[in-house]
Amino acid sequence: MSCTIKFLPDEKEIIVDDKTDLLTAAIKAGVSIYSSCGGAGTCGKCKVVVNTGEVETSVSPFVSAEEKAKGYVLACKSFCKTDLEVFVPESSRVGKAEILMRGEKIFIPAGLPAVKKGKSAFFKTGVAVDIGTTTVVVYLVDLDTGELCARAMYNPQVSFGEDVITRMIFAESEDGNRQLHQSLVDGINELMENCAKEKNVFLNNINVLVAAGNTTMTHTLFGLNPSYIRKIPYLPKMDFLPVSSAKKSGIRINEDGVIKALPSVSAYVGGDIVAGVVACALHKSEDLAIFIDLGTNGEIVFGNKEFLVCCSTSAGPCFEGGGIKWGMRAQSGAIESLTISGDNISFNTISNQKPVGICGAGIISIITELLLNGIIDRSGAFVKNSSKNLKSGEEELEFFITDKISITASDIKNVINSKGAVFSGCDVLVKKMGFEFKQLSQVIIAGGLGNALDIKKSIILGLLPDLPIEKFRFIGNASVTGAKMCLLSQEKFNEAKFIAETMTYIDLSTDNEFMNNYTASLFLPHTNLRLFPTVKNIMEK
């Protein structure tokens, strides 16, 4: 039996059979719905409202009685019995239009070496892409003038799962791998078309696209099944991908154009990190430096022109706003810094808009302020009666920043786990090579936490090593910068290959030293205060 389903507010229709769940139907119809769990019914994010028609659905703890009465169902667990009209509420929609395109600063970091016009063998216009697990950023680059147009969106694969593991599992299902590939390619095409329209460029005149993404994303761009990455012995199908043709991969530039991806180092250190190293020129640095990418996975590279070692810490998405009750990406209305004095709270939001959530930089700022004002103790637990703004929320204690927006006890726990993973990753990497933090000449930080990353507060939190502030450099999205450099210069692309070939990967999951270090760093700023002398002084005051 077939039914027609109409999705609102997109007004998109599709005919499906009664064995197709509404989530799958929505994806087929081109409607993006959130689904962290990839349709397993365990995340509760794909709620939709059935306006007219009948569905067969199963009981879910995520749908309250009140919601049920209003017609809410989980899209992934509902099947049509008649023709339907389904409304996708704001909270379930993957926001496409309003994403993180804020200021050039995120994309063109200051102080990076200017790209020398190498012998670029390509034509007049090219495309550089950063494929993140959460977001996709596309750069249209004029190869002569370097003129730019940039567009970003949430990675459309979010509908198949929020993290790479869920997507790898999805890739194992029938047709799963093709769908991952297709949705990503569609997303990139859409962004390219928007850019091209704005700059009056014909996509047909574009002959090259360079992509930087983590190993899983690179696989899905090329249509390779990434599912082996999560299985012992955790090896990708390929680290170095051959040049692919646009026609074959479905990317809508000139069909004879080429698609190149920056090579990966290992299953969990991908081309985005290699691009980051190219962007900050760590591989040419005379002095020792460390590069930290605070993305979903907190990858770290340490070294100089003589050696490079790297690791990946499972930091989780909290610095990108994931896994935090009111967390969000760095976009308009995100709280990015905050100060507390007594019961008074003052904060700044991005673009000075009405606050709608908290971005990574804001989360760091808030927790540090809570610690310095004695509202949380050094283990991150709330101190009862320490502030008027500390109240019982739905399930636990929450610190209220506005009437609505709060930070919860479990948010703080999440952040401590993440910062602990990143810090101990750095610590282990530096110590393994026989060095100390004080020997570092630079700490380079990349990621989409927002421009207002407060280094001082990040040190107090214990996320970054206690070094003089002038040693830190925040370079925003280094992955897309690196991809752009490799697009403009074959020389840079060759450097990327060399970096990927020579960088040593250290697996932290089997490292005893890391585990020991990790429990020590699950404290504010750290169990061992001697590692944080300046923070010790502040705390003693």
Partner: protein
Amino acid sequence: MEPAIEKWSGKVYELTIGATKESGGSRSKKVKIGGMSALPFLSFEGTIPNPPVIAMEVWDVEPPDWTDVLKNEYGNVLNDPAQWAKKCEQMGCDLICLRLESVNPDGKNTSAADAAKTVKNVLSATTLPLLIIGCGNSEKDSSIITEISEAAKGENCLLGIATKENYKTYAAAALSGGHSVIAETPLDINLEKQLNILMSDMGFSPERIVIHPTTGGLGYGFEYCYSIIERTRLAALSGDKMMSQPIITFVGQETWKTKECQADETDMPAWGSLKERGILWEITTSVGYIQSGCDIIVVNHPKTVKEMKNYINGLMVR
């Protein structure tokens, strides 16, 4: 050739348990633990002012799961904590460890006032310094500890067992009653240190804390416990003030529940006499923990007390 001898920069905090008449209590003696600037019994490295001490457990209800090997030693005092404590004193231990099992909500669920009465009875029955621990239910224990602390005020007891969940109540109770606190964490040196920091951050003196690292019996992860205790002690001797507390282990509690101490001779003929097996197991475990750096061991069998006294004395003389 000069022998290479380790010189340590730090030392373990010295803690006194019990108060005599002069210091406002009613105990016949004070027991001092810790204070060493050397690894266990390596007196050539530094000074070891106090030997490890032995506490015996006294329950305020008859222990339901004890084997006959233990029960037979105590006879009819098992229903009477005051008499039981007196008997332990005669058996030669240094401290009494009173376990207030009766407050357990899954058991008798007695009130704080009842428990406080027991504490007073035991205090008047024995002259030894006291360790007082709850039933292990974190919520219930924190609800009674203030009253317990008040009941034993001035006797300078060691109260337990504080965890990350209830340490604030314990620290406040101990402060008001003038007692010290046992701080328990899962077996991990960083967690130990974190709890000590949290307690000192709220104004509780780090010198009044005893670390309970949560240990296992011999054959049940003992090696790991040994190395964690050893690392704790090494941190203390290297000058880490938040790791410089004395250490306690509940050897009896971990020993007598093992199958080696419970299995019947007819089931396990190759294991030898049941009566000797349990005692040997407790003694061997005790020796291991004393060697790793424990300052208080809490045991159940009188023979263990006797053997361990001899063993410790022998090592201290050398």
